[in-house]
Amino acid sequence: MLTIKNLRVEYPNGKKAVNGVSFELSPGENIALIGANGAGKTSLLLALVGILVSEGEISVGGTVLEKKTLREIRSRLGLVFQSPDDQLFMPTIYDDVSFGPRSYGYSEEETAARTNRILTDLGIMHLSGSSPLKLSGGEKRLCAIAAVLATEPEFLLFDEPTAFLDPRARRQLASTILSLPQGKIIATHDLDFAQKVCSRAIVLYEGKILANGDIGLLSDEQSLIGMGL
C-alpha cells in the first residue's frame, strides 16, 4: 500500500505546489491524477520519490520516506518522467535499462537477466543496441518504462505518459500499462486515456484534492468545467 498523509510541497518563492494531499493507492490499482497546468501533479509525483522536499508522510508498505529510507523508497516507486529525453541518458537502450539494476548493486548476471527480460516483455528487444536519439516518441516512451521496470518497483508513477504520442502509440501504451501488475498513479490531461486505464480519479486544483472517486466522474463535463478543467 502506498499511503500519502497531509502532503505539502512549497516552492522557495512560498507558493504551495501541493497543499495537504492525502490518499492511498492499493497494489494493482490505477489512479488518474487530473488537474490543470500548475495544479501540482508533477510536484506531487516528484515529492513521492523524494526529489522535492515535502512535509507530511509518505509510506510504501509501511516504510516511511525519510533520509535513511530514501534509497529503498526509490527502488519501490518507479517514476516515468514526462519527457523520455530527460530519462534516457545512456548511449544505448540496453545500457539505459541496466542503469537502475547496476546502481542498486545487482551483479552483472542479474542485471543482464533483468534487462533482457524487461526488453523482451515490452517487445523492444530489437531496440536494445539503438541510441535513444534515434527512436520515435512511442519507442522512447516504452524504453523509459522499461528503464523504470528494471528495478522491479511495487508502484509506478507516470507523468503525462501520452504527451507527444500519436494515436497508435497511445493505444500501445494503454495496453502496456494495463498489462503491468503494479499499482499506478498516472498524472495526465488525457481524459480518454485516463478512463481507459484507471479505475479511480483524483482531481487536483491549486495543490489540493478537489475530487477523489470513481473514474466515472471524468464523464460529467459540467463537473469538470466546475473543477477548472
Partner: protein
C-alpha cells in the same frame, strides 16, 4: 550545424570502442587506469629537452593500440584537438631559445626546437594514454575505479554527469540551431549579435534539463556513495601488465641515458 550533428555522432564512438573484447579490454579497469596514470606521470616528469629519452615512451601507445585493436582513424582526430594548445605553448620557445643544441649536417637545431618537439611528444603520449584508457574501459567502470582510489565523490559525480549530459546538451543545441535557421532565412551560421541570447537561452534551459536528468538518475538509484564497486578482482595478467608498464616506464626515466 553540421559540426553539431557530427559531434553528436562522434560522441559515442569511444564508448562503442570500449565494448570490444580484446586482450586490453579484458584487463581490470584498475590496471588500465594505473598503466595510463603511470605513463602520464613519468612522461610529464621529463625535462624540456629530453626528447630522445621521452621518445622511448612511444612504445606505450603503439603497443596498446595494436593489442586493443583500436583504429588510429578514431583516436588521432581527437588528439588533433589538443594540438593547437601545445603548438602555441611550444612555438614561443623556438623564438626565444635560439642557441644551437646540435647540428644535422649544416643545419643547426636550436634548444627551442628541441623544446617544441618535446612538448609535442609529451602531448602525444599523455593524450594517447588517456584516450586509450577511455576507449578500452566503460565510463561506469572508470568512475568505480576513481571512487576506489578515493577520488572525491563530487569530482566523480561531475565527471559522470558531464559525460551523460553532454549528448543531451548537443541535441538541444542542435534543435535550437534548427529553429534559428528556419526563422533566419536559412542562414547557416549564427550572427554575432544573436550569439549572446542563443547561448544564454541554451545555458538556462540546459541547466533546467541537467536538473531533470540528475533527478532521473537519482530515481533509479544513482547516488555517489553507492557507485557500483567492481567485484572483479585483479588477476595475474592485470598485475603483470601494471608491473611491466611501470618497469619499462621507470627504466626509460631513470636508467637509460643518451
Amino acid at each position: 550545424m553540421a559540426d553539431l550533428v557530427s559531434s553528436l555522432k562522434d560522441l559515442r564512438v569511444l564508448e562503442g570502442l570500449a565494448a570490444k573484447n580484446s586482450v586490453i579490454h579484458r584487463l581490470h579497469p584498475f590496471a588500465k587506469l594505473s598503466m595510463a596514470l603511470s605513463i602520464i606521470c613519468f612522461s610529464a616528469s621529463f625535462g624540456r629537452y629530453s626528447f630522445a629519452q621521452l621518445s622511448l615512451y612511444l612504445f606505450y601507445p603503439f603497443i596498446m593500440m595494436a593489442l586493443a585493436e583500436l583504429p588510429y582513424s578514431v583516436l588521432l582526430p581527437r588528439l588533433a584537438a589538443a594540438l593547437p594548445f601545445c603548438l602555441f605553448a611550444g612555438i614561443a620557445n623556438v623564438a626565444m631559445e635560439r642557441t644551437p643544441a646540435f647540428y644535422i649536417g649544416s643545419i643547426a637545431i636550436t634548444f627551442g626546437t628541441v623544446s617544441l618537439m618535446t612538448i609535442m611528444l609529451k602531448m602525444y603520449i599523455c593524450v594517447m594514454a588517456a584516450l586509450i584508457m577511455v576507449a578500452t574501459t566503460p565510463i561506469s567502470d572508470l568512475s568505480a575505479q576513481l571512487r576506489r582510489l578515493h577520488v572525491p565523490g563530487s569530482f566523480v559525480l561531475v565527471f559522470e554527469i558531464t559525460y551523460r549530459y553532454i549528448g543531451l546538451l548537443l541535441e538541444q543545441a542542435l534543435s535550437m540551431a534548427t529553429a534559428y535557421r528556419l526563422r533566419s532565412g536559412d542562414r547557416k551560421a549564427l550572427l554575432m549579435r544573436d550569439m549572446p541570447s542563443f547561448l544564454g537561452q541554451m545555458l538556462l534551459s540546459g541547466f533546467d534539463r541537467a536538473e531533470r536528468v540528475y533527478a532521473a538518475m537519482q530515481c533509479r538509484g544513482y547516488a555517489i556513495d553507492h557507485i557500483r564497486q567492481s567485484k572483479k578482482k585483479l588477476k595475474t595478467a592485470d598485475i603483470a601488465a601494471i608491473g611491466l608498464t611501470l618497469a619499462l616506464a621507470a627504466c626509460g626515466r631513470f636508467f637509460i641515458f643518451w
